[in-house]
């Protein structure tokens, strides 16, 4: 594949690590109060790597265990509602509370259907923490992920949810912001279609991903 598509591909691969790592921060809000965004991020990444390299969880039952744990903590610590709001931009304001909740839930399912089965493919990636920029309630933490001898710059945008509980709402890989990328797609779709159509499109995509996942499982059983 061409170089520029390649960059994009690597980016999305790292989203996995980026996304779920933050969700794994096991600290309570009280403990977190004393922590900087970087410290909270690092705690999350460290726990993620610990879970992914846990040899006792390598069998089928363990795999399910890992996925459950990742999902639970991910939803607990990643501010997907805020991510959704940023992804929809001005369209968000026009939505009812129910529509917003439905969107957040579908968007979460889409990400899960894409990345969750990839958590088992961890291959020794490490993270270096470079820099932290604080601006009021928001923070930017710059890191580098080292994967297969290659350095990939990954920036996390975090928001303070009270008591120093920093939650990630955007991941920027090689300069490509996940929020901006989704926003370009959503706005392109909403130019021609209604919000309900967008939801249908996300539902279709999730169903499609599930079908692909099931198809991949079949030959392994036989």
């Amino acid at each position: 594949m061409p170089e520029r598509i390649r960059i994009f591909i690597v980016c999305f691969m790292v989203v996995l690590l980026a996304f779920f790592s933050v969700g794994l921060s096991t600290s309570t809000a009280a403990e977190a109060a004393a922590k900087t965004p970087t410290q909270q991020l690092k705690a999350g990444v460290d726990s993620l790597i610990a879970v992914l390299t846990d040899q006792s969880l390598k069998d089928e039952a363990g795999k399910k265990n890992v996925e459950d744990k990742v999902v639970e903590l991910f939803q607990q610590h990643f501010d997907l509602a805020y991510t959704s709001q940023m992804c929809l931009g001005r369209h968000w304001r026009k939505l009812s509370r129910e529509e917003r909740n439905e969107f957040v839930s579908l968007f979460t399912d889409l990400l899960k259907s894409t990345y969750l089965n990839r958590v088992h493919e961890y291959s020794g990636e490490t993270v270096k923490y470079k820099k932290e920029i604080l601006r009021g309630k928001k923070a930017l933490v710059k890191t580098v992920v080292i994967s297969k001898g290659k350095e990939i710059p990954v920036d996390y945008k975090m928001v303070n949810r009270g008591n120093g509980n920093w939650q990630v709402y955007d991941v920027v890989i090689e300069g490509v912001s996940m929020v901006r990328n989704y926003r370009s797609q959503f706005s392109s779709i909403l130019q021609k279609k209604k919000f309900a159509d967008l939801l249908d499109q996300i539902r279709d995509k999730i169903a499609q991903n599930k079908a692909v996942k099931d198809a991949e499982k079949e030959p392994q059983k036989g």
């Binding site: 390649r6 297969k148 300069g175 912001s177 989704y182 370009s184």
Partner: protein, 267 residues
Amino acid sequence: MLRFVAGSSTREKVLPVVCFMLLLLGIVFVGFSVAAPARAADQQVSGKTADEFDDEFADEYADADQAIADPLEGYNRVMFTFNDRLYFWVLKPVARGYGKVVPEPMRIGVRNFFHNLSAPIRLLNCLLQGKFAAFGGELSRFLLNSTVGVAGLMDPATYDGMKSYDEDFSQTLGFYGMGHGFYLVWPFLGPSSGRGTVGLVADYFTEPLTWICWGDLETGIAVNTGKVVNRTSLSIGAYEDMIKAVLDPYVAVRNAYYQNQLKKVQE
């Protein structure tokens, strides 16, 4: 294969290329305003005022709808589909087979070798942008990796914490204020733009591989195919994930290209 050792015939061919490069440079310096390069302020968090940042509802992505012009969307979508099929039907199966035969450390070595070999592209464009510290860094990397790193197969420079500066001619044009022009997808080569295409041509002539294989089309194609297959084998599955995660792969790739280019020029 190694025609460049033959000498004279290659040297004769260098001249027109040098002229071509100078012509391109002329275009850069004369044709485009050197003043006030249009930088995207959006990515610069430091550029925001504290008030804006404190207000949770201030939309920091307000400018996100800015995008690269795409007047040829119809053609581009066809080319995007072509490249997509090329990946799934040809490149991926070949790269997967290759990856089963050749161990990963060896493939990383091959990737390092090609990256090290293309150092002249980065060196030249560091110079053209007046980034002398980056030039020095790239030169040190090149010298260290070419010697201690066994012709670039290993990467002791990165191990030593020496950063690679990924500069190319498209970024040089952007640095001097040239816009993208419009989005353009090339078959085989993928996402590009008007500016990116000029950059690709210039980089092609700065790439040592071009000169090593000069006049031998078959070797050139074979070596470049090998380079791409090797690189692909190291990231199988990632493109598939990207396709799964997005609703409109064409728009997603176009936006990622745009964002990535903005960042590269900013650096």
